[in-house]
Symmetry: C2
Subunit: 364 residues, 2 copies
């Protein structure tokens, strides 16, 4: 018998794909008590529903925190299902929509499979493709010059999974529903409509109502953005009973805690508050877009809670990002592809947006 | 172009390993407001730290729930690291210890790899091995007749990963530290000491202090049992900086929410309350064991918050489980291997344990 401690190599033991794997880079998260104006990760500038407080107190007083949660987030499944006239089991409640996406990939993406997506889109999709460690291929189909999907090219692609954000990120651009449905109808694999930002567009833009007509369509959603609950980690996946039952097999038994479930339920049910804050974000988006355009930025119409902004000639987006950071304003800069010519700015409160405009005016 | 909706087969699209894959079966979770005496999933019979309430109120008032949490659960990492004189980055905070285990498997278990474990142990390990969908082999090494690990056989095994629960589940039996360390020293792969129940044994039983001497050792922990926070979903993995940094690459960016982090921090720091409730469970364990033994049960010494009980000859453990269920007392019955001769009973409150004893007395 040999004592291993001197010769032991961990790298030799991990999956051979792991050393080259590059995880997703999330936006910077400064300390929570900082005075930084945080317009970099598309958080909601308004607090979540005020009804959360009472619901949380009830949970704490009842003592149920010592018990395991419901496996499925049953009440939340029922609330959501009722709104869309679905079976509650068509909804898979997850630890943020990131878990929904990961489970979808794990259920589908095997050796030699192809994942298709417009480019740029949510940069977690290529990471997930690689993270499966099965040698799958990620096929990125460039957006057209007007930042819209290249439907002609996308329709020609074959693969196990087609992913897009609807509306798209980081562009904020929304595609016509009929074009998306035509793409879905003609794709041979599963199609993910990642609707993280859908609540900031028109109410009937979602593809959820089309699941009954398209067995290969799944939709992901999150409480992080429009419900102002990024700190909570609750998302969900909606699809046919069959596709959801396959994906559910891979989730951890208790993937969403009791407080997460209850807070999501209360927030989801508080529709009045939700709609009020949604309107505020949308009207600020219109205002901020105009003001940035008056400073020479070129900005596509946004259906989200952020703006994808190309500065006027001679202004470097990267140095603008760095200069704003020095002045305690965080925005997002992606250094690859067409995104390198843009900065992405989350809609803040009216005060935050005014500070941003004033600061940018001073810089350019 | 063909419309796929009529001919579409989801089963043909999912990973070919998925149809045969059987997920972990968690213990039954009746509705949270039920009057059922729940002694089936090793939850703590006492509520979690009373300091949680104030900490949660502070989080809700501060409005930070709208922001993404710290990626790493930094404060919790620091609290734990301080206790064991470790670098905070040696601690990977996870969505329950189930996520810790899953990430460990994902980082290590590839095609043709072997996972070794005593049998029975936590039945999630064989599920995870299969869930990796890489054709890995799970090598179960039977316990000896006295329910202790068969160290002679385990030491002969080769593999990528060796897993055991310490103390073991569902037996409740604890192995000598020196024997475990000898096994670890001689195993060629990574060894997981799953310490979900370690707080119910002697304070120096944990293997965490041995990580510095054993680069192939990782330890998992959970807040679900001894901290009475099964409803929360927080666990963690401890290992060398190197092994943890490999595993961390595979976690979702924001895997643990803000409330989960804060509640775990407060509970961890409230050592007085923790030790008081731990003592109550341990003294109830001694009492309940004696009373069950006086009813003819054969029970190995337990170092956990449950008892593994073999009824006297002529009493079927399965029908005992079913009869108790009819009387609103849930215990756990596993129908496979040696476990099929036993029932597993979680230590409840003194009142719950008395009701259990009285009910069993009426049944056998």
């Amino acid at each position: 018998m040999t004592n291993l401690s001197s010769t032991f190599s961990i790298e030799a033991l991990v999956r051979k794909e792991l050393p080259a794997f590059k995880p997703y880079t999330p936006g910077e998260q400064p300390g929570l008590s900082t005075s930084t104006i945080k317009l970099n990760t598309n958080e909601n500038p308004y607090p979540p529903s005020p009804k959360i407080k009472e619901a949380v107190e009830k949970v704490l007083e009842s003592g149920v925190l010592r018990k395991y949660p419901n496996y499925h987030g049953r009440k939340l499944q029922e609330l959501i299902a009722k709104d869309y006239d679905l079976d509650p089991n068509q909804i898979l409640v997850t630890n943020g929509s990131d878990e929904a996406l990961r489970l979808l990939f794990q259920a589908l993406v095997g050796p030699e499979d192809v994942v298709v997506a417009p480019d740029p889109t949510y940069s977690f999709y290529p990471v997930l493709t690689e993270q499966m460690m099965v040698g799958a291929t990620y096929k990125a189909v460039p957006l057209k010059d007007d930042l819209h999907f290249d439907f002609d090219s996308l329709t020609k692609e074959k693969g196990k999974l087609l992913c897009f954000a609807h509306p798209n990120a980081p562009t904020g651009v929304e595609e016509e529903k009929s074009k998306l449905l035509n793409l879905i109808k003609n794709f041979e694999g599963i199609v993910l409509s990642d609707e993280a930002y859908i609540d900031f567009t028109e109410p009937n833009s979602s593809l959820v109502s089309e699941i009954k007509n398209h067995p290969n369509l799944v939709v992901s959603r999150t409480f992080s953005k429009s419900y102002a609950l990024a700190g909570l980690r609750v998302g969900y996946l909606i699809g046919s009973l069959e596709v959801i039952s396959w994906i559910r097999k891979l989730k951890d038994s208790y993937n969403v805690g009791i407080l997460d479930q209850v807070i999501a339920e209360v927030s989801y049910a508080d529709k009045e508050y939700f709609l009020e804050k949604r309107s505020l974000v949308i009207s600020e988006r219109t205002k901020l877009k105009k003001e940035l355009e008056s400073l020479g930025f070129e900005i596509p119409n946004s259906s989200t809670n952020f703006l994808f902004c190309k500065p006027k000639l001679g202004v470097s987006p990267e140095s603008l990002y760095l200069q704003l950071k020095e002045k305690n304003i965080l925005i997002r800069y992606f250094s690859t592809g067409i995104s390198k010519d843009y900065i992405r700015i989350t809609i803040g409160t009216p005060e935050e947006n005014q500070t941003l405009i004033k600061t940018i005016r001073g810089l350019i």
